[in-house]
Subunit: 202 residues, 4 copies
Amino acid sequence: MVHGTGRNTGGVTKHRLEAFSDGVFAIAITLLVIELRAPEPEKGTSLAEALWDMWPGYAAYLVSFTIIGVMWLNHHRVFDQVRTVDAPLLVLNLHLLLWAALIPFPTAVMADFLREGDDARTAVAFYSAVILMAAISFSLLYARTTRDRVARLRYSVGVLAYVVALGLSFAAPYVALAFHGAMALYYLFDQATVATERAPER
Amino acid sequence: MVHGTGRNTGGVTKHRLEAFSDGVFAIAITLLVIELRAPEPEKGTSLAEALWDMWPGYAAYLVSFTIIGVMWLNHHRVFDQVRTVDAPLLVLNLHLLLWAALIPFPTAVMADFLREGDDARTAVAFYSAVILMAAISFSLLYARTTRDRVARLRYSVGVLAYVVALGLSFAAPYVALAFHGAMALYYLFDQATVATERAPER
Amino acid sequence: MVHGTGRNTGGVTKHRLEAFSDGVFAIAITLLVIELRAPEPEKGTSLAEALWDMWPGYAAYLVSFTIIGVMWLNHHRVFDQVRTVDAPLLVLNLHLLLWAALIPFPTAVMADFLREGDDARTAVAFYSAVILMAAISFSLLYARTTRDRVARLRYSVGVLAYVVALGLSFAAPYVALAFHGAMALYYLFDQATVATERAPER
Amino acid sequence: MVHGTGRNTGGVTKHRLEAFSDGVFAIAITLLVIELRAPEPEKGTSLAEALWDMWPGYAAYLVSFTIIGVMWLNHHRVFDQVRTVDAPLLVLNLHLLLWAALIPFPTAVMADFLREGDDARTAVAFYSAVILMAAISFSLLYARTTRDRVARLRYSVGVLAYVVALGLSFAAPYVALAFHGAMALYYLFDQATVATERAPER
C-alpha cells in the first residue's frame, strides 16, 4: 500500500525517514541493557551484594532509557510539522541519530566509574557532554523545521540546562546525574502532554 | 501514505507507538541470544560436556523468549481497545518497555547462577522481581485502557501469580523457574486464542 | 492509518505479525556480526595472520547470513497464503522465531571450534541440530497454512536434507558446513525465483 | 491495511524488502556503539586520559556511521526506480546487506589497531576492502535497476575511489581513514540533495 500508489505527495520519504529513525531509537534504547552484565562476585561476596553494588548501572539505565524515550517522543513532535523532506533535514536528522545511538557508550562509562572519586567527575561530565550534543543536534533540527520563536526559545533554554548539567558534573557528579533524571522526567511528562494535546484534531 | 493524508483521526500516533513498542519487543527477544556465549571448556572437558553444562542458559532463554512473546501478544490486545493516545498512556507504555527491555539482564544472571546454591535463590528471585514489575506495569496500562472489571480482575490475578513465583524463588529456585515456564505457556495459548477470536469480526 | 479505520478485514493482526517477524529476522541476521570480535594476536603474530586465522568465523557468518536470509524470504512466502491469523499460527510462528533468533549462538560455537578435532564434530553437529529444528518449525508452520501436498512434500525433503547434514557433521564437519552453504545457496535462488514469479499478478 | 486489499500491484514485496533492508541498516548503524567499550585504565592512568586514548574508536564510529547512513539514503534512491522485485534483485539486495551488516567488525578492528604500526596498515586495508565490497555490491544492484549510463558511470567512479582508498591504506593508514571520512561526507551531501530534488514531484 505504502508504495503501491503512483503518487504519494511527499509521504514516502518522510515515512521511511521516520521508520528508520524510530528503528535507531528503539535499538539504542534496548541496547542499554547490554551494558548491564551478570556480575562475577569475588570469593566471600554473595550475588545479592554484587547485584546491589551495581546500582550505578541501574541508575544509568533508568536515566538513559528515559532520555532516549523522550528523544523519540520529541522526534515525533518535530516531524509532525514537517511537510517536505529536504537535504539539510536529512543531514540534520542523521546528525541527531549519531548522538542518540552513541548514548549507550557514556552510559556504560558512567555506570563503571560513578563511585571512583575523580574519575566519577570525568565519567558524568563525559555523559553530560554527549547528552548536550544530542540536545544541540535536536535544536538544530528544530530551528530548521519551525518558525515558532517561542518554541525555539524553549529549546535553547533546554540546551542551557544541559550546559548547567555539564558544569555540575565536575562539582558534584551524583547531583548532576539526579539533575539529568529530573530533567528527563520533566520532559517526559511535558512532551507526552504536548504530543497528545494535538491528538483530537487529527 | 501513512503520513501523507491531512486527516488521520488518532491513527498516526497510535501507529508509531505500536511500531516503536513492537521494535523494542523484537529487539529484546532477539538480544536474549547474546547472553548465550560460546563456552570455553577447561582442559580435559569436551565441547559436548561444556554445551550440556549450559542448560540453565537454554532454560532461561526458553522461558524469557516465551514471556517476551506473550508480552508482545498482550500489548497488541491492550492497544486494540485504545482509540486515542493520551499522555498517561505514553508514559505507562514507556514504563512497560523499560521493564521489558531489561529482561535479558536477569535472564543472564539466572543462567549464570542457577546451580550456585544460595546465589541461585537470589538469581531466580531477582528474575521473578523483574518479571513481576513487568506484570505490574502491564496492569497499570490495562487499568488505564479498559473499564472491563472482569478483565481487570484477571490481570490482578496474574500479578498475584508472579508474587507467588517471587516467594517460590527463595524456597525452591528450580520450581520457581518451572512455574515461570508453565505460566508463560499458559498465557501464550490463552492470549493466542483471545487475540484471534476477534479476528473474524475485523 | 493502519489502525485508524474501524474495519480492517483481518489485515492488522497479520501486518503486525509480519512486521514483528521481519524485525526478529533483521535483528538476528545483523547480530551475527557481534560474534566476529577484533582479534588479539599474540606476540610475534601479525594482525594479517590473526585475521586470516579467523576464516571459520567468516564461513560461519556467510552460511548463517544466507540461511536467515532464506528464512526471511520463506516466511514471506508462507504468509502470502495466510488469510486469517489463528491461535495455532501465532504459536507456531513464535516457535519458528525461537529457533531463528537462536542461530547466532551455534554460529559462534562453530566459528570457535571448527579446527578443534573432535570438538569440531560436536560444534558442527550442534549447529546442524539448531538449523534442523528451524527447518522442522518451518514445516509445522507450512503444514498449518497450506493444503498443497506437493509443497508439503518439498518441505519434508528439505527437513530430510538437514538430517543428512546432521549425520555428516559427525563424519566430516567441513563437508557438513559446505553442505549447509550449498543448500542455503540453492534455497536462496529457488525461493527468490518463487517469490517473484507471483509478483506480476499482484 | 498493507496486506488487507486483494490487489497490490507489486507493492507488498517491495515494501517488505525495503522494511527489512531499513531494519538491517538501522541495526548495523546502532550496533557500531557496541564496539566502544568502557575503558579499563591501568593504575596511574586517569579515566580522562583513557577516554582520550580511545580517539581511533570515535573516528571509526564517525566514519562508519556516516557510511552506513549514506548507504541507507542510497538504497532509498535505488529502490525508487524499482517497479517490480525479481529474483536477481532479491539476491543482489541480500548480497549488499551481507556487506553492510559486516561493517561493525572491520570498524572494531580499525579502532583497535590504528596506532599499531604495520598492523595499522592491515587494519585500515581490511576496513577499506569491506567498504569496497559494499560499494561493488551497490554497483551490481544499481546496474540491475537502471539503464541510465551516466548514473552507472558515476557509480563506477565511486568504486574506483574505494580502490584508491584501499591502496592508500598500505601507504598511509591515517590518510586513508581521512579519505573515507571525506568521501562519506561528500556522498552524504550529494545523496541528500539528490534524494530530495525529487521530493516536490512526489
